[in-house]
């Protein structure tokens, strides 16, 4: 089962789905010893856990335009992602994708690989990779540090095996100009970044058991195109990858030197990394294929030369795989039958490569042959199909225990016959907490069972890692890849010793910032028989941290211990010890440490065990008021544009005034049946000369006029639309017949303020006095003033009439006047009451019913000409551009009738009126 999974895993890390013709592929480098170990470590982890996290860190620097002009990497990555979904059943695989160049960005957050949706996700990834070569320089530190953080955060949730696939083509280059324009060492930032990666990040990743698979596209062609400093930069930078990924390597920053990164040699309880170099994308895909097979527990088999190629399948081989670039092929069994896809045979084709996997039955043993198209590349991979299953058990310090288990088949229910092999041995090895190893010991095999009868865990170990490895070779002597599993076992003490109630010791309070103190506690159980004690005299050792700051931890004496740093424990007694720790160097990290605890038993005087109790605590960079800052920023993020829009609305909401504005005003009488009449009750006949120019004005938010103040208003609620209004003079009401927004009906209800349009040439208003309204009674007419504005349009000679007609034919004027009466009456009553109370005297001027409004003398209002003056057309203001000719002599200012269809159906002026302005009513003052 595990083997099958591993075989599939091959395709992920190795095959990447693309099979290539080696005749086309460039040269590739073989895996180093450390590189091979990286795949062993990962395979072992996957044998022991049911979860895998894969983080793709993908270079998007500009140089990829040259090193992978066909963007093959996109296809390779897509294929690898698809194959993540074909891992063994029950394995939870999650993946995430980040891109880096001069910047880093996470493209895909941690997502579970779901076979149903992975195809479309893989296509998205392919598309994204194809687009991604827009970065400039190659900032490894940013990329790897960010990926390490993503993996660390994910590890807390998943506790899975983890792999970082780091695809890059370039050297380390933090230059801000053209990429790689200077040698690496010319920029101190490059050196600083490398040292940080080398000393901290890479070691932390290995310590956290993250398998780093660095994939370097090292194109000689691309290098050859560079010259001088640029080539030097690329070669230097590429060399730096090896020590970062594998822990040691030769670098050249001005002088050649051997560089070690982190702990060297890499401790056995760390995860090694592997650097894969490839000349071009095709070679890269080939590398991935081969390495994938190794990871899956496969062994490179022997294919004979010639076409067809022959190979031997013998007992002990459970499965074999042929990877070929041949578009057509034929696989023939020893019985001469042709094998094609079906039960027991899986054929996967991806990007022109084919992978044929055959499950072997005893009837299939013998010589096979494989026909292919000439020039194709073919590889045979053999799998034993064996797996190891360890019996459960525990280790007791100082006491020999049995380690046993069984050799099983990866295919559930399949029998295992170790007699099929010429060699079959099982070894057991102990890995200590400090990474050191004890010599391997060989277990005895009986049938499929193995047993190491007397295994004594090393003293002073809280936990040990047991690695059990099966080595087999076929009858013909062909050694198949070893199968290895590991298990972490807690080591407990005999019953006459105290024990730690819960392991690991987890701290409740994290170390928050440089001054924060982390706090935790541990409960110790007394011996099950007799008395004992524990002593804590040493400080913890820190085994996993994101940065090297072990020297700066400040460990306080545990609370609960006596003066000799010990705690006496009676039989079955429980006691608590409190711990506290600080560090002046802050970091966001989940730290793992080991605390040496010495255990004593009264029944074994002179005997003591020191076990390292695992301890976990969190450290945080102190973030000052992060939530408050965020809340403030969200508030500003909303408030600033709101304020901007308010200001914008305020600044752009103006009454459109400008040039050529004319105003006409008449004293009128509004009749309930006849509409708007002249003040004497006759028909009101407007004339062009009634309209007087008012001086040119820039657009304004406030504008004072003869019957009130016009103003532009903006709602403080920002989003309601702005509006325009006219405020009536004291003792008067205005009717404009402009429908206000529904929400503003109350504002305009009593007529002291009336809504208007924003363009002055659309404004007109009828003013009526309060005293006329309250005294209207049953009368059917009321005096008032009519003011109409227009913007003189020389092309429309009937404009004066059009404007008047528009007003006079507006329905509902009388109704609105009537509607005002009760409101005005109520207001006046209120005012009167207030006046009485305050002994104030604000009275409505009742001097004359006929008296009309006294306009402000400051306004440009011009009284109408006297009767018989001829109503000469006023000249346009200078610069208005209108050279309107005066009326012909003797015409008396009469305006020609409107042309047919002009819409002016206003009755002609009475004979002899000459268009003269009607006399103001008695007592009138200027309208």
């Amino acid at each position: 089962m595990i083997k099958r999974f591993l075989a599939t895993l091959i395709s992920i890390f190795l095959s990447f789905g693309v099979l290539i013709n080696t005749s086309q592929a460039g040269s590739t480098t073989e895996l180093s010893v450390v590189g091979k170990r990286a795949f062993d470590d990962l395979a072992r982890c996957l044998n022991s856990k049911d979860a895998l996290d894969v983080f793709y860190l993908i270079d998007e620097s500009a140089s990829l335009r040259y090193t992978d002009s066909e963007k093959k990497r996109a296809e390779i990555l897509k294929s690898s992602l698809i194959q993540l979904s074909t891992l063994r059943e029950g394995l939870k695989v999650q993946y995430a994708v980040g891109f880096f160049g001069d910047k880093y960005s996470i493209w895909k957050n941690w997502s579970i690989v779901d076979p149903k949706s992975i195809e479309s996700e893989a296509l998205d990834l392919e598309r994204k990779v194809r687009e991604s070569n827009k970065g400039q320089s190659t900032n490894w530190q940013l990329g790897v540090d960010s990926a390490a953080t993503e993996l660390s955060n994910q590890r807390k949730k998943s506790n899975a095996c983890q792999a970082l696939i780091w695809l890059t083509d370039g050297g380390l280059d933090l230059s801000t100009g053209a990429p790689g324009e200077k040698p690496v060492q010319a920029n101190p930032k490059n050196i600083e970044a490398f040292e940080s990666l080398c000393k901290n990040t890479s070691n932390s990743l290995r310590q956290a058991k993250v398998t780093v698979l660095g994939v370097l596209l090292k194109s000689e062609k691309d290098l050859a195109r560079q010259s001088g400093d640029q080539r030097e930069n690329m070669e230097q930078g590429m060399d730096l990858l090896l020590p970062i990924v594998e822990g040691t390597g030769s670098i050249n920053l001005g002088s050649v030197q051997q560089q070690a990164c982190g702990q060297n040699p890499i401790p056995p309880n760390y995860a090694a990394g592997a650097l894969l170099e490839a000349e071009d994308p095709i070679a890269l895909a080939f590398q991935f294929l081969k390495l994938g097979s190794y990871t899956a527990g496969g062994t490179l088999g022997e294919l004979s030369g010639g076409n067809p190629a022959n190979f031997l399948i013998e007992a002990g081989i459970a499965r074999f795989r042929i990877i070929t670039t041949s578009p057509t092929w034929k696989l023939t069994s020893p019985q001469g039958s042709s094998i094609s896809e079906g039960p027991g045979v899986t054929v996967v084709t991806s990007a022109g490569a084919t992978q044929i996997t055959v499950s072997v039955k005893p009837s299939m043993y013998g010589a096979w042959n494989f026909s292919f198209k000439e020039g194709s590349s073919n590889e045979l991979v053999l799998f034993s199909g064996l797996d190891l299953k360890l019996d459960s058990g525990e280790l007791i310090a100082g006491i020999a225990r049995k380690v046993s288990g069984e050799v099983v088949s990866e295919f559930a229910g399949q029998p295992v016959n170790l007699s099929d092999y010429s060699v079959a041995t099982v070894t057991v090895q102990e890995i200590l907490g400090n990474g050191k190893t004890n010599p391997q010991r060989t277990a005895s095999l009986a049938g499929n069972k193995f047993e190491l009868a007397s295994f004594k865990a090393s003293l002073n170990q809280g936990q040990v890692e047991l690695r059990v490895t099966l080595n087999v070779a076929t009858k013909s002597g062909f050694a198949l890849a070893p199968v290895s599993v590991s298990r972490i076992l807690d080591v407990r003490l005999p019953d006459n010793y105290p024990s730690l109630a819960m392991s690991p010791i987890k701290f409740d309070t994290p170390i928050n910032g440089s001054s924060g103190t982390g706090k935790g506690s541990a409960v110790f159980n007394g011996p099950k028989s007799g008395n004992g004690k524990i002593c804590i005299v040493e400080k913890p050792s820190y085994v996993n941290d994101v940065i090297d700051r072990s020297e700066t931890y400040e460990w306080f004496k545990p609370v609960g211990l006596d003066t000799s740093d010990c705690l006496l424990l009676s039989q079955d007694e429980k006691k608590k010890v409190d711990f506290a720790i600080k560090n002046r160097i802050p970091a966001d990290a989940q730290v793992q440490a080991e605390l040496p605890i010495i255990y004593y038993s009264d029944s074994e005087v002179g005997q003591q065990f020191t076990l390292n109790a695992p301890m976990e605590f969190q450290t945080l960079r102190k973030k000052l008021g992060e939530n408050w800052i965020k809340a403030l920023l969200v508030f500003l993020g909303i408030a600033l544009p709101l304020a901007l829009i308010y200001l914008l609305t305020w600044a752009t909401t103006k009454i459109a005034l400008g040039k050529n504005v004319q105003r006409a005003s008449w004293p009128i009488r509004v009749d309930s049946l006849k509409g708007i009449l002249a003040s004497d009750g006759s028909v009101l006949t407007p004339k062009p000369e009634d309209y007087k120019y008012i001086s040119d004005q820039p657009d304004a938010r406030n504008y004072s006029e003869i019957i009130g103040n016009l103003s532009a208003k903006v709602s403080k609620l920002v989003f309601p639309p702005p509006w325009f209004e006219m405020k009536a003079r004291e003792g008067a009401r205005l009717l404009t017949m402009v429908a206000p927004p529904a929400s503003m009906n109350s504002r305009f209800a009593n007529g002291s303020i009336a809504p208007i349009r924003g363009n002055i040439d659309s404004v007109w208003a009828i003013e009526v006095l309060d005293k006329d309204l309250v005294s209207l009674g049953t009368s059917t007419a009321i005096p008032g003033n009519l003011v109409i504005y227009k913007r003189n349009n020389l092309a429309n000679k009937n404009q004066f009439m059009d404007r008047f007609m528009k007003v006079s034919t507006t329905p509902g004027i009388w109704n609105q006047i009537v509607a005002l009466i009760p409101k005005v009456q109520a207001e006046l009553t209120q005012q009167s009451n207030r006046s009485t109370k305050n002994n104030s005297k604000k009275k409505v001027d009742n001097s004359s019913n006929e008296e009309m409004i006294e306009f402000d003398s400051k306004t440009s209002f011009t009284p109408p000409p006297p009767p018989g003056s001829g109503g000469s057309f006023p000249p346009p203001p200078p610069g208005s551009g209108g050279s309107f000719p005066p009326p012909p002599p003797g015409s008396g200012g009469s305006f020609p009738p409107p042309p047919p269809g002009s819409g002016g159906s206003f009755p002609p002026p009475p004979p002899g009126s000459g268009g003269s302005f009607p006399p103001p009513p008695p007592g009138g003052k200027g309208v």
């Binding site: 996470i106 910032g513 000052l624 008021g625 829009i645 020389l794 000719p885």
Partner: protein, 137 residues
């Protein structure tokens, strides 16, 4: 030019150089639909940014772009329409103002705030972390 005094049958103000009475020259101009279309497009762009980048990215510049698109640029479209319509109203007697355009733009500006919330939140998240770390220890 119009003769003065007008000849019999000639309407005052008519003539070659003056357009026919009540007849605009060509089609009357209407308020431009462009600010409205642009505002709508900007909102779609902002939504696309949110969909493509997601709400949990770390690249603040993308979110700043989204923030400039909505609500800032959409709000500017509203101001543009307001000024444009007012200016044309004054300068062109035949201009047909469209108050509905202004209303729709106002609504779109409101919508743009909703669309901008993921950008605002992301910017606040990224910057607050940076600032908190800088001022923290």
């Amino acid at each position: 030019m119009t003769s003065f005094p007008p000849k019999p049958g000639e309407i005052f103000g008519s003539g070659n150089s003056i357009p026919k009475v009540n007849q605009p020259v060509g089609e009357p101009k209407k308020a431009s639909l462009f600010p409205l279309i642009l505002a709508f497009t900007l909102i779609i762009l902002s939504i696309l940014i949110t969909v493509v980048v997601g709400a949990s990215g770390q690249n603040v510049s993308v979110y700043l772009l989204g923030y400039l698109v909505t609500p800032v640029a959409v709000g500017l479209c509203m101001g543009w329409d307001s000024i444009d319509q007012r200016n044309k109203t004054k300068s062109d007697p035949w201009f047909i103002a469209k108050s509905k355009y202004s209303l729709v733009l106002r609504i779109l500006t409101g919508v743009s705030f909703l669309v901008a919330l993921p950008h605002i939140n992301a910017i606040a998240r990224i910057l607050s972390t940076l600032l908190a770390e800088r001022f923290g220890s």
